[in-house]
């Protein structure tokens, strides 16, 4: 999953107006742009950044849920959570591969993540504090991600669009699985229901923030929309998410923590209360409660694994040398 709000199109470009017009014509005709096709530098940079952020989000996103694998309360849940977190790693792998088609290596992207240069979705900088969070993350966070990602299956860049088709199928499964965890808790003991409500209270607003700033405050949307990297605005997607999610919460007997939430007959959707944009920008700028721990964990895995990666390369080199010597 990723935060659409973080992603801005880079529209600096040195191409001629004729070149840009030719490119735009292909986009407007809904042709897929493939890695070896000519493309404006800004388009390439925007995609490298967006796909990279998306990949990093999958990888960092393994940590908050990974936090509960060893404590899952039943064997069925343990297996399902392990498989889910593994799926996220798989998404990271496809996405790094999609970004690599644009000429940037996984190692370079990883170094940018670890140095803090590259961003990832700030939703993962919130802590997972109870088993219910494993349900809520699937239901809300993966649910919000799906809203963002379904349109990406039609993104103008071919490798990204194709990767997203499989990713969306798996995310949709995760979303249903998450909802089913929350449903089990909501229908369980009073303590379990309280656990589910507490989890919804903590994740609701950060989930709405995943869609990014209001359209009026989002600087980069226009170019991404024109290039058909992005197809809906932040507010359009947030509205779709709220309208889909509120009835789901009602069905569970859980209360969405927004006293201003109410159905608006005229617009055919829900109105919601004000989002705390101070919190949003604080977390985006790296001050989320778990921000330091997440990067520390990724750095530790990378640094502790260095000797393994070096050994694998050294062994491959030895094999190659032996093969040449034998010929």
């Amino acid at each position: 999953m990723y935060s659409q709000g973080l992603i801005g199109a880079d529209n600096r470009t040195e191409e001629t107006p004729e070149f840009l017009a030719r490119f735009q014509k292909r986009i407007d005709a809904e042709e897929k742009i493939e890695p070896k096709d000519e493309m404006p530098e800004g388009y390439r940079r925007t995609l490298v950044r967006q796909i990279g952020q998306h990949a990093h989000s999958e990888i960092v996103g393994m940590l908050p849920e990974g936090n509960w694998i060893t404590r899952a309360p039943s064997l069925r849940r343990k297996a399902a959570l392990l498989a889910k977190v593994q799926d996220e790693g798989g998404h990271g792998l496809y996405l790094y591969s999609a970004a690599e088609t644009l000429g940037v290596s996984r190692e370079e992207m990883t170094e940018e993540l670890l140095s803090g240069k590259a961003k990832y979705s700030s939703i993962f900088n919130y802590p997972t504090l109870s088993w219910a969070d494993m349900g809520t993350i699937g239901w809300l966070v993966d649910g919000a991600a799906i809203m963002n990602q379904i349109p990406l299956c039609r993104c103008s860049f071919g490798p990204y669009a194709r990767a997203m088709i499989r990713v969306c199928k798996e995310e949709s499964f995760h979303q249903r699985q998450g909802y089913e965890i929350v449903m089990t808790l909501a229908q369980g003991t009073p303590e379990q229901k309280a656990m589910a409500q507490d989890s919804l209270n903590r994740w609701w607003w950060p989930s709405l923030m995943m869609f990014g700033p209001h359209d009026a405050d989002s600087q980069h949307s226009d170019q991404s929309m024109a290039w058909k990297i992005k197809r809906f605005t932040n507010d359009e997607l947030r509205q779709k998410f709220i309208d889909a999610t509120v009835p789901q919460a009602e069905y569970l007997g859980l209360t969405i923590p927004d006293p201003d939430l109410k159905w608006n007959e005229d617009k055919g959707g829900y109105d919601h209360g004000p989002i705390d944009w101070d919190e949003f920008w604080r977390v985006v700028k790296g001050h989320g409660p778990m921000a330091k721990d997440r990067i520390k964990a990724r750095k530790k895995a990378w640094d502790d694994g260095a000797w393994v990666r070096e050994a694998a390369l050294a062994h491959a080199e030895k094999r190659r040398a032996r093969k040449i010597a034998a010929e």
Binding site: R71, S74, A79, L82, G89, L93, G188, G305, R309
Partner: protein
Amino acid sequence: MAVFEALLELADDHLILGHRLSEWCGHAPMLEEDLAMPNMGLDLIGTARTLYDQAGKLEGKGRSEDDLAYLRGEREYRNCLLVERPNEDFAHTMLRQLYFAAFMRPYWLAALTSTDEVVRGVAGKAEKEMAYHIRHAGEWVIRLGDGTAESAARMRDAVEGLHIYVDELFESSDAAQEAEAAGILPVRADMRAAWDRTVADVFAEALLEQPSAAYAQRGGRQGIHNETLGHLLAEMQVVHRAYPGARW
């Protein structure tokens, strides 16, 4: 009851090793291993679930897979010591996996002719899984053993640390002996030759030597574990035990 206990021993081996692998998820040396280790862990946990379920049915006291996994303490767990050994580093983890899979592959192959239908079913699936666990872990033992000076040293440390837990794999408890006599489970000691061959082939390429244990550690089948298992169980069981009777 003997068959119940023998299946429990097998199930505990698989759950505890699967749990250990799951501890790596999100922290592996490379993304490919962040996918591979959970994959192997899922195989093992899947096998454990079927075995617990069957054990519970044979016992006839209405205990579910979760009752057996979450409501027994360390003295009641019957896994061998090898599988509870901490992950330490990637060298230890891969060697532990190789040792276990090199035993379980021939074991499940032999179990294909078990007199018990459930055991035959598990064996049919698990022998294939164990074949690729051997391949995956074995390839890593080779890469690390014949990689850099550091990786070779770490691999030798892992051999030094783990070889004392190997012999216990081949020993059958009284319960297991009864199940073996009934043709339900294969005789553990019979796996020795296949295990030796698998490990010797890998070690030859990995430039490692297989030491013979001056004194083999044992006790898991009697519930006499190392100190690490209690911590593993405390973590694994905490949520389940905090809400008695809750459904998840």
